[in-house]
């Protein structure tokens, strides 16, 4: 493995982490949107606040990590990608702003009307953001982003992009519902846990179904990706399917903590599968890792940066996750 390929792998590690952790945060927003009126949805919304409150900002940083790795390690690919996919990136940016601030504002809102308004901004943008991120992923994976300037619209509105967008929202919802079910169970709210478990089942089945149907458009629209998924990346696709089925099985049995492990593996495997399928392309069909790799010394610098992160940010993150998963953190602090 070349130095550039190693850096690409580390960058993609960030993509996987973002898909799982921020994915679950986005998915929580999706359920927040569907939680019903203020009275009916109060329990779920409170649980969502508790579950993602301490972690969403840290999880969000993975996106910055990926962007920075890309522009530092593969600057020309970054510039091409963001110039061609200008419009979906604008929506992602807008979604991120409204999601984060809406969430923070709601926690301290004074009146119900205000809480509803901020909550709506948070929830709606939690759908928009992963949808457009999925479309961006689909555009790159579908080979529609050239190393230069692609079409502003058609490059991200192809079939693979739609698959990416829909699948992103569904997998986020699936992850979130399993996380919420497991959190609610730990907090002693069995009734809510069961409700979330049901939602997770629905989202999981829907995500699986879309993934299977998606084979048809991807076959014709994204040959390189399809070839990779059926070839080199096939083990990951299979692993994802097995883990997904395991998660659904455990959800049915009400074993939410186990289901969560299955869901994480399922999503991680499918994202890794995407990466493996398009390797060694950064921009599918247009630029390989070695085509667009930055200066050697900078790649070494990135590697060192990752090393520093591994001994500083990563242990801190582990501590945060350990804390929020402790029983006495699940309840109220006051």
């Amino acid at each position: 493995m070349s130095l550039a390929a190693l850096c690409a792998a580390l960058m993609f590690f960030g993509v996987v982490a973002y898909a799982i952790f921020a994915g679950a945060d986005f998915g929580s927003g999706v359920w927040d949107l569907l939680a019903g009126d203020a009275q009916k949805g109060a329990h779920l919304r409170t649980q969502i606040d508790k579950s993602i409150g301490p972690v969403w900002e840290a999880n969000h940083v993975w996106l910055i990590y990926v962007l920075v790795f890309m522009w530092t390690g593969f600057p020309r690919a970054f510039a091409a990608m963001i110039t061609t996919l200008f419009i979906p990136w604008l929506f992602v940016g807008l979604g991120i702003v409204l999601r984060g601030s809406g969430f923070a504002f709601r926690k301290f809102a004074e009146t119900l009307t205000q809480a509803r308004l901020y909550g709506a901004a948070f929830a709606a943008s939690s759908v928009i953001t992963p949808f457009f991120l999925g479309m961006i992923a689909g555009a790159i994976a579908g080979g529609r982003v050239p190393l230069g300037r692609g079409d502003l619209w058609s490059s991200w509105t192809g079939p693979t992009s739609w698959v990416g967008g829909v699948l992103a929202v569904l997998t986020c919802s699936f992850l979130a519902a399993t996380f919420l079910a497991s959190d609610a169970e730990r907090a002693g709210n069995h009734e809510l846990a069961v409700q979330c478990g049901k939602r997770a089942l629905i989202a999981g089945v829907a995500a699986g179904a879309v993934a299977m149907i998606a084979i048809i458009p991807i076959e014709s629209d994204a040959e390189t990706l399809a070839g990779g998924l059926q070839g080199r990346a096939a083990p990951f696709v299979v692993l994802s399917a097995i883990a997904g089925l395991f998660a659904l099985w455990r959800l049915r049995a009400g074993r939410f903590a186990r289901a969560r492990v299955g869901a994480v593996i399922a999503v991680a495997a499918v994202v890794i599968g995407w990466g493996v399928a398009q390797y060694p392309d950064v921009l599918v069909d247009h630029a390989t890792i070695s085509d667009v790799a930055g200066a050697h010394s900078t790649l070494v610098g990135l590697l060192i940066t990752f090393g520093i992160a591994a001994v500083t940010a990563v242990p801190a993150m582990v501590w945060l996750f350990v804390l929020v998963n402790k029983r006495d953190w699940a309840g109220d602090s006051h």
């Binding site: 910055i64 522009w71 702003v97 409204l98 969430f103 993150m317």
Partner: protein, 466 residues
């Protein structure tokens, strides 16, 4: 390179200026607020109940400000590519390293913010207090890294340019460490870092001063004012020195910027200092000239040359009026803030309490926005003073801007969204403060050894959820 029309370029510059101008205020809180909270929290643990109230309240304020700061910072990172792909595609690997390191700082800050905010009553008091320390450290490192990238644009190093066979420029011999530790980095970093402490100190002090003006003279107010004002004072006293050193550097490395700041049309010995004034058709009007002072201040002695704008061809000169006046606002306000804060402590030492006078309190309220004004003016000097270059003498802004049209649309959207965000943030913080006040008046039993529960009044909650 790509030719874009001028209005397109203007829209991109305006969008960047707005996004940066908005984020920079919030990022000051990200950098300096944890230190202020730490001071209050530590006092609180040593038995000062009011200090603990302050720490608790400030941590809720931080939750709001940091969230808005995190997302507005993300917008900036998008815009590096969305607006300036010409910079990122050519120099991404030269200036990427500090950004990557800043990513670590951002991670650390976000993680420990989560732990700190949710750690009340859950972590042991000592451990809980200490979770602020990584946030303070991340503020130092994050500022250094982001400013390093900006300083590199002012003083590019760590690479060579080679002309390829087809005439295009190619970046070679990249040394990201040399790029990061460029000539401008230390002064620019210190200047920004201290500015963050000034802004947070004066803004927080202004909040309590305005409370005292309304007759709320309880200890939470006086203590809150004093802690914040002390932090602001330290920063305000150090800042002019750092600024002076930063300015001295310019004569050699960015003479055009210095010329614009000083409104010097031509290079001269014993150059006069222009106070106020505008440049119209190459001549200075309306300036108060103090002979020799510009040479003394910018170069260290009277007989030294202050560079003039005419060093560079007309097309490569920064817009001197903007730079000059922004610079004078920064220096003027900064100096006034320093004198004002020193005066406060001198009076106090003589046993008088300046906060008993309404005039002082009014001035203290003004000092908050004034510090923000100085900050924005300073960034205007840095950024506009570099024009027309995005990378000084290497890459022009118009050669780096996106070829995509319609930037006016995204600029308008951002302007509307940020106006809304700013308004909501301001009003929300005021509403939180009002609710705290009302709880203070009504609640007689504020027990718990670890401080009174301030937010999350179950009544609010039920109300908000119903």
């Amino acid at each position: 390179m790509l030719a874009v029309d001028a209005s397109q370029l203007m829209a991109a510059r305006d969008q960047m200026a707005l996004s940066l101008g908005f984020h920079i205020v919030l990022s000051c809180f990200g950098v300096a607020f944890p230190a202020l909270i730490y001071v209050a929290h530590r006092r609180g643990l040593r038995g000062d109940a009011d200090a603990l109230v302050l720490a608790k309240r400030w941590s809720k304020v931080a939750a709001v400000l940091f969230a808005v700061g995190a997302v507005s910072g993300t917008v900036l990172s998008f815009e590096m590519g969305l607006l300036w792909p010409g910079l990122m595609s050519t120099f991404g690997d030269v200036i990427g390293l500090p950004f990557a390191l800043e990513g670590i700082a951002f991670f650390v800050e976000a993680i420990f913010l989560g732990i700190y905010l949710y750690g009340w009553n859950r972590l042991s008091p000592k451990v809980h207090l200490r979770t602020l320390i990584p946030m303070i450290a991340a503020g130092v490192m994050g500022t250094f890294c982001v400013v390093a990238a900006n300083a590199w644009m002012n003083s590019p190093s760590g690479f060579n340019l080679q002309t390829a066979a087809d005439g295009s420029l190619k970046v070679v011999d990249v040394d990201p460490v040399e790029a990061m530790f460029n000539n401008a980095v230390w002064t620019e970093f210190l200047h920004m870092f201290v500015a963050a402490y000034m802004v947070v100190g004066f803004v927080a002090a202004a909040v309590y001063a305005s409370g005292m003006l309304r007759g709320r003279r309880d200890r939470v107010h006086t203590l809150g004012f004093r802690l914040a004002f002390a932090m602001a004072t330290i920063a305000a006293v150090v800042q002019p020195l750092i600024g002076h050193v930063a300015g001295m550097r310019l004569a050699e490395h960015q003479p055009q910027k210095l010329a614009a700041m000083e409104l010097a049309t031509t290079t001269e010995h014993n150059a006069p200092l222009n106070i106020g004034g505008f440049l119209i058709d190459g001549k200075v009007y309306g300036a108060l000239k103090i002979p020799g002072l510009s040479s003394l201040l910018a170069r260290g002695w009277f007989n030294r040359d202050v560079p003039g704008l005419d060093l560079a061809p007309q097309a490569d000169q920064p817009p001197a009026n903007v730079v000059h006046n922004a610079f004078q606002i920064m220096v003027g306000v900064g100096t006034a803030l320093m004198l004002f804060s020193l005066w406060f402590w001198l009076r106090r030492r003589r046993g008088r309490d300046p906060t008993s006078g309404r005039r002082f309190l009014k001035m203290a309220v003004v000092a908050g926005p004034a510090a923000v004004l100085a900050l924005e003016a300073g960034w205007t000097v840095t950024e506009v003073g570099r024009q027309p270059w995005i990378v000084q003498d290497v890459l022009r802004v118009r050669d780096a801007v996106t070829p995509n049209g319609g930037i006016w649309i995204s600029f308008t959207v951002i302007a509307i969204v940020y106006a809304g965000l700013g308004t909501i943030t301001y009003r929300l913080l005021r509403s939180m403060s009002r609710r705290w006040r009302e709880a203070d008046r009504t609640a007689t039993d504020l027990p718990t050894p670890y401080g009174p529960p301030i937010e999350d009044d179950p009544r609010d909650r039920v109300e908000a959820r119903r």
